[in-house]
């Protein structure tokens, strides 16, 4: 049986019990609406005959009123996580002008706070419904989370440059998954690849550590004027464990390099389109980038 048929049969006409309070809510909305804008109703009727596209505008205004009610109910869920995030951000700000000892205590705090955050999500994971409501209701949390990750990252790189004692701090953050947090902070430098593949996959979406931040150009002009002469991948120096292969249009390899560090400045290549294949391995996480480069003299 085709998989789409399975889903169609099971879900197409499925039903769910509807609470009677919903009708009362709807009824209130209708009656409050009819008080104000009867003329708008007749207009929207015409819109729908034209294919229902104008519906969005209509619905948008209706949703606005509804939104206020939902936000109140959601607020309590959001507050807990935003507070945790704010604490971290504050720590991050304070840290700028402090001495080494202070920085170290702050890292402890930071790690502690991220632990809290993670356990917070971990608890909710145990309760499916709650998890869903947290995930879906509270867009603020999902907005806050990545930025927090980012701040921690930058904070750690700052610190590692200022004090040698905590060089391994980024690794601690990198390997923080709900189960391995404590373990990794104790046995820090041993092996950052402790996390198993499924966890990595999950954290790939939430943890910015697994997002490889490079900028690959799509045009180079190797004419010796000093501008765009080389295939310069921005921030490639952060990912030394990489391999670059460049093909021409006939799939023939024209350049190949391990640990590529922006050395490719072709002098005797024809103008035209070339393809690159860049594999980056970062703390056990591997990603392949493919794309097109145009060479114009």
């Amino acid at each position: 049986m085709k998989i789409e048929d399975i889903f169609k049969n099971n879900l197409q006409n499925s039903e769910m019990p509807v609470d009677s309070s919903l009708w009362n809510e709807l009824n209130n909305r209708i009656s409050s609406k009819n008080g104000g804008n009867n003329s708008a109703n007749s207009q929207s009727g015409n819109i729908s005959t034209n294919g229902g596209k104008g519906l969005f505008n209509k619905i948008a205004s209706a949703v606005k009123g509804m939104k206020a009610a939902t936000i109140v109910s959601v607020a309590s869920v959001v507050v807990a996580s935003t507070i945790a995030a704010v604490v971290i951000l504050n720590n991050e700000n304070e840290k700028t002008n402090t001495d080494k000892n202070k920085i170290i205590t702050h890292t402890d705090k930071l790690v502690l706070n991220t632990n809290e955050l993670i356990t917070h999500t971990d608890n909710t994971a145990s309760d499916n419904n709650l998890q869903q409501s947290v995930k879906n209701n509270s867009t603020p949390t999902s907005n806050v989370m990545p930025s927090v990750d980012f701040d921690i990252d930058t904070a750690n790189t700052n610190m590692s440059s200022s004090s040698q004692n905590i060089v391994s701090a980024p690794e601690m953050i990198a390997t923080q998954t709900p189960n391995s947090v404590v373990l990794n902070t104790n046995t820090m430098p041993t092996n950052p690849n402790v996390t198993n593949p499924t966890e990595q996959h999950n954290s790939q979406r939430t943890n910015s550590k697994y997002e490889i931040k490079i900028l690959i150009p799509n045009v180079i002009t190797p004419n010796g004027d000093g501008i765009n002469d080389c295939f310069a991948i921005q921030h490639i120096e952060d990912y030394r464990d990489n391999m670059l292969v460049i093909y021409n249009r006939n799939n023939k390899v024209v350049y190949q390099k391990r640990n590529y560090n922006n050395e490719f400045c072709p002098q005797n290549l024809e103008n035209g389109t070339y393809f690159y294949n860049l594999v980056i391995r970062n703390q056990g996480f591997e990603k392949t980038f493919q794309g097109v480069i145009t060479i114009i003299e």
Partner: protein, 181 residues
Amino acid sequence: MQDKEIENIILLCKQGNQDAKRVLFEMFSPKMLALCNRYLNNMQDAQDAMIDGFIAVYDNIDGFVHRNLQGWINRIMINTCLEMMRKQKKILLQEDNSFADADNDIEIDNPERFSKNDVFNALQTLTPNEKTIFNMAVVDELSHDEISQILNLKKTTIKTTIYKAKIKLRNYLLQLEKDRI
């Protein structure tokens, strides 16, 4: 319910009869709640979306000319859900130019062994984009043309997304069975 009765109800709704509106609500709300829940996978949002959707239905019923009342209401509900997802920034629609052999069918034998719940849970493992497109194309049977118009995406993107979603779903269901043994 017979076509005649439905026509009567629609007529009464057009005149603004409150009881007729209630009948319409009770006729369709269980299905619509399930539909909204399928898109939003959250009961609170689904209820809100359904109420917004019904308000849109009552507002626009004057212009209702189609034969298929259920299909028309479905479309309104889908639009409401999409609007809600956009507001919550849950879907981030992007073109997907990767190549997939999207014409292959993916099959599973003996589908009876999976309950409705299994199937619903499988759907929740997809990413929001995949889920939305899969829902629209497969479960609600909108044509690819319509979807590409609504979501403003290329048809190839839709095809690839559906194909990827199908593979994910099959893998999930097979894994589910392995775990049970």
